[in-house]
């Protein structure tokens, strides 16, 4: 029993999909491979599916030059032991109540009674998750999450009242687009557009844990939304440019810690340094700044000037705290 098994593989999955039809044509084979395969699968997979002498023998060519499957029925999608064990583990995750009603959880637990969970919560310890993470078992939180999820799925226009990060009470009309989870913060947030007269006013993020009330207006937001455009609009206009040296294994530490960010790296062979362009969401600028400062003199913020000057300002303050004003 292993996650790395051909039974979950792309080739098996494509074959299963094609075997759902009694008869198919070559075009369908190629289209399915192009759509569901890896980039180069079209070069390797069709000849294994289409009778060619080197194929797997899953299809035979009939009199109409069509491909007839050798099996009798569409293949059943059996839930494997590993998948069952995974589901069983997730039933013990407090976040499961955000998706399933309690009676559904009880039914599934009974169904999986004989299954050993793949892992238990106590097998893992998050060493640095923030202490003020969401309380996933709070009934009001669960109810608000259900409302928010339903609003996202149906693109409902909703009225939301919530408390902002600065402690202000805010209410307004929104369309919720997607839900984001951060393992670092232990929080769920919803990507939203704020609406004014049914038109998009601006974009924002609402913490599910800060929502007081969501009210369905009974209306649907029908304007097509491009999430790519939504995310681009929230990105910094110029990337942070960071010089990374290899002191204290800086390169590996930096690259790993900033792995979630889109970045472009250029190596300076003469200096044995790296220059990294880092794109981040504008609202995360302070978070990025303090992450960068935590690397100490191993890295340097080269630009943009706004970010560099914020670093300088903090360092001036820090120098003064340690060495006094006269030292400057």
């Amino acid at each position: 029993m292993n996650i790395f098994s051909e039974i979950y593989g792309t080739y098996f999955r494509i074959a299963a999909k094609l075997l759902e039809n009694e008869v198919i044509d070559e075009k369908t084979v190629r289209e399915t491979v192009l759509r569901d395969g890896f980039r180069d699968s079209i070069l390797f997979l069709p000849q294994k599916l289409i009778p060619s002498g080197e194929d797997w023998g899953l299809f035979k060519r009939d009199n109409n030059n069509m491909l007839r499957r050798i099996t009798k029925k569409a293949p059943e999608k059996v839930l494997t032991k590993l998948q069952n064990m995974w589901l069983k583990s997730k039933l013990s995750d407090p976040r499961i109540r955000l998706f399933l009603e309690d009676n559904t959880i009880t039914e599934l637990e009974a169904e999986l009674a004989d299954i050993k969970p793949l892992y238990r919560h106590e097998h893992f310890k998050l060493t640095d998750r923030y202490a003020d993470h969401d309380d996933y078992s709070d009934e009001k939180y669960i109810a608000n999450f259900h409302e928010a999820l339903d609003a996202v799925k149906k693109r409902k226009i909703v009225d939301i009242s919530f408390t902002s990060g600065h402690g202000k009470h805010v209410s307004g009309r929104f369309v919720m687009l997607k839900i984001e989870f951060s393992p670092k913060n232990g929080k769920f947030r919803a990507y939203c557009y704020k609406l004014s007269n049914d038109k998009i006013k601006n974009s924002g993020l609402i913490n599910i844990g800060r929502i007081d009330k969501i009210t369905d207006t009974g209306r649907i937001f029908r304007t097509p939304v491009s999430m790519d455009n939504y995310f681009s609009s929230r990105k910094c206009s110029t990337p942070a440019v960071i010089r990374v040296t290899n002191e204290r294994n800086g390169v590996e530490r930096f690259m790993l810690e900033f792995a979630p960010y889109a970045k472009h790296t250029v190596r300076d062979l003469e200096k044995n340094e790296y220059v990294v362009e880092l794109w981040y969401d504008e609202q995360d600028e302070t978070e990025v700044l303090i992450m960068l400062l935590s690397f100490g003199p191993v890295i340097e913020i080269l630009g943009p000037e706004k970010l560099r000057s914020q670093a300088k300002e903090r360092l001036d303050r820090q120098y003064e705290l340690l060495y006094g004003k006269n030292a400057q």
Binding site: G9, K81, F99, T127, D128, P183, Y191, T265, L269, Q328
Partner: protein, 420 residues
């Protein structure tokens, strides 16, 4: 010379390559000096194929840089899962998979003889008993086939659980699978459920998403099993030099430690050789093998539970388990009227440390931890607010003061060299 194949036998090798492309974002062929040119080209081609839209190419004097650039907070599916979906197999493997499922999906039980006869008579497929028996045994372990023994004869049937039926029957399960397929842990298994029934995650994104962890998931079940069975494990790390054989190390595993801020995961365990607790980064481990039952496991576990509460992160420090530790005290200045968020931050991020108000606008964090050095990376996120650092070790304190002076100069300040 064999041609290129999209499929792979060996996951370890691929893990190493994908990690390097993904993490460093700037590897060229000559960096992989311990590998053959062909291996590099093949691995690169596979990674390109899996990652498609996320590949970047930059030409430099040293060669063409290949890298992966993913804004992982805004994607709906971890592209690294593709590595798991690339396991190679034989023609018999795929044929028997679909034929056995086809025969058995009527719900009836059959003997090995009946199955091989059906394959021969109804499907015109000739397989010897041993090949079919092996596949049935393998599928029984995977939970696809159910085996019953009646007298001396084994009977085989198809497992009754169906993915599509589960998704239909249990309202909300589809959403749960969408979420957990991208969230830690073992998201790839949830993704395999979704792929089987053609569901796509159109609802969730994961911020601070260390996608690379998914490649390490291959190692984790064996570790968890060893923990449950109170066994030691043998680990082998990746080597950086050609032909270097890594030394084996024996660990008695206790827990998997996950840093959600630095993107690292570790095995925490007791190391009999050094007689102390230690941690090993999962991304550096190539191979794990179960060793022997540890008769002393419960006692070690109790000690671990005590010790882990004195780790700020994952380091048990340099001292022996019973050694003394100097608490480190860091005092921060805060404008209590305007900067309540700083106090909130300290409370939120202090972990095992204690935060106390020690004066007007002064807050002191005290951390009685094994390795005070571990706190300093985090402490530097408060640059601009640190009034003093006491305790810990002199080396830690000096390094901090020196770092601030270097950074001050780096950002244009004129440092007085005579300041100590």
């Amino acid at each position: 010379m064999a041609g290129f194949s999209e499929l792979i036998k060996n996951f370890d090798k691929t893990r190493e390559y994908v990690r390097d492309f993904f993490i460093y974002g700037c590897k060229v062929r000559s960096d992989f000096d311990k590998k053959s040119v062909r291996t590099y080209d093949d691995e690169k081609r596979r990674v390109e194929s899996w990652m498609q839209d996320y590949m970047r190419y930059d030409d430099s004097i040293k060669g063409r840089h290949v890298s992966i650039s993913v804004d992982s907070g805004h994607i709906s599916e971890n592209p690294l899962y593709n590595a798991y979906y690339s396991k190679s197999f034989t023609d018999n493997d795929i044929k028997l998979h679909f034929l056995l499922i086809d025969i058995l999906q009527d719900g009836k039980i059959r003997t090995l003889r009946e199955l091989t006869d059906t394959l021969n008579n109804e499907y015109e497929q000739l397989f010897d008993d041993q090949t079919v028996r092996n596949k049935l045994k393998e599928y029984a372990e995977e939970g696809i086939i159910v085996v019953q023994k009646r007298g001396k004869t084994m009977y085989y049937s198809l497992s009754p659980t169906r993915i599509d039926e589960y998704i239909q029957k249990y309202n909300g399960l589809s959403d749960a699978v969408k979420f957990f397929s991208e969230a830690p842990d073992f998201g790839v298994i949830g993704n395999s459920i979704m792929k089987a029934v053609g569901i796509r995650n159109d609802l969730f994104h994961i911020k601070h998403n260390y996608m690379i962890h998914s490649l390490e998931d291959i190692l984790v079940p064996e570790i968890l099993k060893a923990i449950d069975d109170k066994c030691s494990i043998i680990i082998k790390k990746f080597t950086w030099k050609k032909d270097e054989e890594p030394a084996e190390e024996i660990i008695i595993p206790m827990q998997i430690l996950v840093s959600v801020q630095t993107g690292r995961r570790y095995i925490a365990g007791y190391v009999p050789k050094t007689r102390r607790f230690s941690t090993y980064r999962l991304d550096r481990i190539k191979f794990i093998k179960r060793n022997i039952v540890c008769t002393d496991y419960d006692r070690l576990r109790e000690r671990y539970e005590v010790n882990i509460h004195r780790c700020f992160g994952v380091s048990f420090g340099d001292r022996r388990e019973s050694g003394n530790v100097n608490a480190i005290k860091i005092t921060f200045t805060v404008d209590e009227k305007k900067e309540l968020y700083v106090i909130e931050r300290l409370e939120r991020e202090k972990r095992c440390a204690v935060v106390e108000k020690t004066g007007d606008g002064l807050y002191t964090l005290t951390a009685d931890v094994f390795d005070p050095n571990e706190i300093m990376h985090w402490a530097k996120t408060f640059i601009g607010r640190i009034v003093s650092i006491d305790g810990g070790t002199e080396k830690i304190r000096l390094r901090f003061y020196n770092d601030i002076r270097r950074m001050y100069r780096m950002y244009g300040g004129e440092d007085d060299e005579h300041i100590q």
